[in-house]
């Protein structure tokens, strides 16, 4: 079959909402695009463990400590599913890890902001996971089978996290004066970076058009961002808090919330490595990886010894 014919079969499947599976033929660019996107997503889960991990030792109650640890652990689990999905496309987890550690691969820029108070644990669940879900729900129907199946599991847990995050803030918002101030402060710091999580405006987005055609992506950045704003602008009222945007207001004509201008200079600065924690995050991952090298080597060496002994016994 010619490449053109293969491409036709491939695109027909996609158009008919039939999932592409690892053994199916696929265009190289589709493969590359997916590897980039899935591994970036996996890296985000792994790096995303760090800002929240920063409060594990200081969680305010044993119950909250358990919830937080379990949540960060879930993120490790998500990383695992996603690395596995990416591996079906012919790249190894070690290769992906190297790309992360060397700074070649990206991860979500939101994790380059510091977590300064306990309320940040709530704000991350509510806003950051909220924005992530908005991006991710459509991916449950993405065209590549392993990715879509991984995303179904991820999304289920993420929406649980989002509810937990909101509940954390709700408790604080009913607490003492300092706790309430903590909530407002956390919202003030995380709101704009959360909006940036949807990526640049559609007009500036690099990969969008082709991704739409391949159904890797199903909604544009700006569409998803608008949905998110509409959702949060309502939920924030339940907390008795405000969003740090004087331009935010309901537009009766469009049935959406209008909102202010995003500081794209900050966005690009953080993407390009100048965020408050870029260095710190990568250093933490590099440290874990390099200090774990001898452990991984020992595990391999021992497994080999065992296998050799077994063979000997069998012989």
């Amino acid at each position: 079959m010619s490449v053109q014919e293969l491409e036709k079969i491939f695109q027909d499947k996609i158009d008919n909402e039939i999932r592409i599976e690892p053994k199916d033929w696929m265009p190289e660019k589709y493969r590359q695009n997916l590897i980039r996107q899935i591994s970036q997503h996996a890296h985000s889960e792994i790096v995303g463990m760090l800002p929240e991990g920063n409060w594990i030792s200081r969680a305010p109650s044993l119950k909250r400590k358990l919830i937080l640890i379990a949540k960060v652990q879930d993120e490790a689990g998500h990383g695992l599913y996603l690395y596995s999905a990416a591996e079906t496309l012919g790249i190894s987890r070690d290769e992906m890890t190297e790309q992360l550690l060397s700074g070649k691969a990206k991860y979500s820029s939101i994790f380059n902001y510091p977590t300064l108070t306990w309320a940040d644990m709530g704000a991350i669940g509510w806003l950051v996971d909220g924005a992530a879900i908005m991006n991710q729900v459509p991916l449950c129907r993405t065209s590549y089978g392993p990715y879509s199946r991984a995303m179904i599991r991820v999304c289920k847990e993420e929406s649980f996290h989002q509810r937990q995050g909101f509940e954390t803030l709700l408790v604080l918002s009913r607490g003492n004066e300092e706790q309430r101030a903590m909530v407002q402060d956390a919202i003030d710091r995380w709101w704009w970076p959360s909006l940036m999580m949807f990526g640049p405006h559609d007009s500036e987005s690099q990969h969008s058009e082709q991704s739409m055609k391949w159904k890797i992506k199903r909604f544009s950045n700006d569409e998803l961002r608008q949905r998110f704003v509409d959702m949060i602008a309502e939920q924030v009222k339940l907390l008795g808090m405000t969003l740090p945007d004087p331009d935010l207001k309901w537009n009766e004509e469009h049935k959406h919330y209008d909102f202010g201008t995003i500081n794209w200079e900050e966005f690009w600065n953080v993407v390009s490595g100048n965020g408050p924690c870029n260095k710190q995050r990568l250093e933490a991952r590099n440290k874990a990886w390099s200090e774990g090298a001898w452990v991984r080597e020992a595990a391999v060496a021992h497994a080999e010894k065992r296998a050799a002994r077994k063979k000997q016994v069998a012989a």
């Binding site: 463990m49 030792s57 969680a59 305010p60 044993l62 358990l66 960060v72 706790q179």
Partner: protein, 273 residues
């Protein structure tokens, strides 16, 4: 039954679980490989979960005490709580007692160290806890028996997991053997404390709600010997044992751990989280 001793006994079990759980949680996000990051975090979750059951039970006990009984355990109560004017709760016990009131074994509070130290410490502790909780299932105290039973499945897993790592590192590379040998040298003198009963443990064993820890030593040594053989490690000759933890005399490490762990409860006393 001496309620004062029972209260201390429950706290000691809880403190062991909490402090080791807190230590293991330091690995979360920093493990040597993703699957093991998840595994050590699981152990941490299990232990902190056990601590919660035990603190809840201790709080219930206290709240049901007579005035004299309450007075008798005064030295173990968190000072700030006394101004709260409400019943004692789990977090008061875990998050507001002072260093000298914590009764955990010294081995649980030592820094996490490298992967060898973490897994070997877990192995020593889990092998002990497994024997302790197995017997605790027969406690005359129903609550303790129930908590022991509920926890044993978890502890069995911790023991299996940590045994495997001790073997893997002992019989792995030259470096891993060197590291676990160093960990052994570091940790061995902290194992004796597990089997040296303090007053409230002796009483607990006598009254049937607690375990005679001295009697566990042989089985523990057998288990360690078996695993060490496969790991090509030898049991150290030295029999000198550090002690003091169960009486609130700790290493310099615990203070820092508590400072961090209790920070928010100390900063916002009696807030709801």
């Amino acid at each position: 039954m001496s309620t004062r001793q029972l209260f201390a006994y429950v706290l000691q079990l809880a403190d062991n679980a909490l402090i080791l759980g807190q230590r293991n949680a330091e690995w979360c996000g920093h493990g040597p490989v993703l699957e093991q990051d998840i595994a050590i975090t699981n152990i941490s979750l299990d232990l902190i979960g056990q601590a919660r059951y035990l603190y809840q039970y201790a709080a219930t006990l206290y709240n049901g005490f007579s005035v004299e009984e309450q007075h008798a355990v005064n030295a173990l109560l968190p000072r700030p709580w006394k101004a709260f004017n409400r019943e004692l709760q789990e977090d008061d016990l875990g998050m507001l007692r002072e260093e000298r009131q914590f009764l955990n074994l010294l081995i649980t509070e030592l820094p996490k160290g490298d992967w060898a130290q973490t897994t070997l410490r877990q192995f020593f502790f889990s092998a002990f806890q497994y024997l302790q909780y197995t017997q605790l299932q027969n406690s005359t105290d129903e609550q303790l028996a129930a908590i022991a039973e509920k926890s044993l499945k978890e502890v069995a897993y911790h023991l299996r997991w940590s045994s495997e790592w001790v073997i893997r590192l002992g019989d792995g590379t030259e470096e891993s053997n060197r590291r676990i040998t160093a960990a052994l040298e570091e940790l061995w003198m902290f194992t004796g404390e597990m089997f040296a009963p303090v007053a409230f443990e002796t009483q607990a064993a006598q009254e049937g709600y607690g375990v005679d820890v001295a009697s566990l030593k042989e089985s523990w040594l057998n288990r360690v010997t078996t695993v060490f053989e496969e790991a090509t490690l030898s049991i150290p000759k030295s029999t000198w044992a550090q002690s003091g933890g169960k009486e609130g005399k700790h290493t310099e490490h615990l203070g820092y751990l508590l400072t961090e762990m209790q920070y928010l409860q100390r900063t916002y006393p009696n807030a709801v989280w």
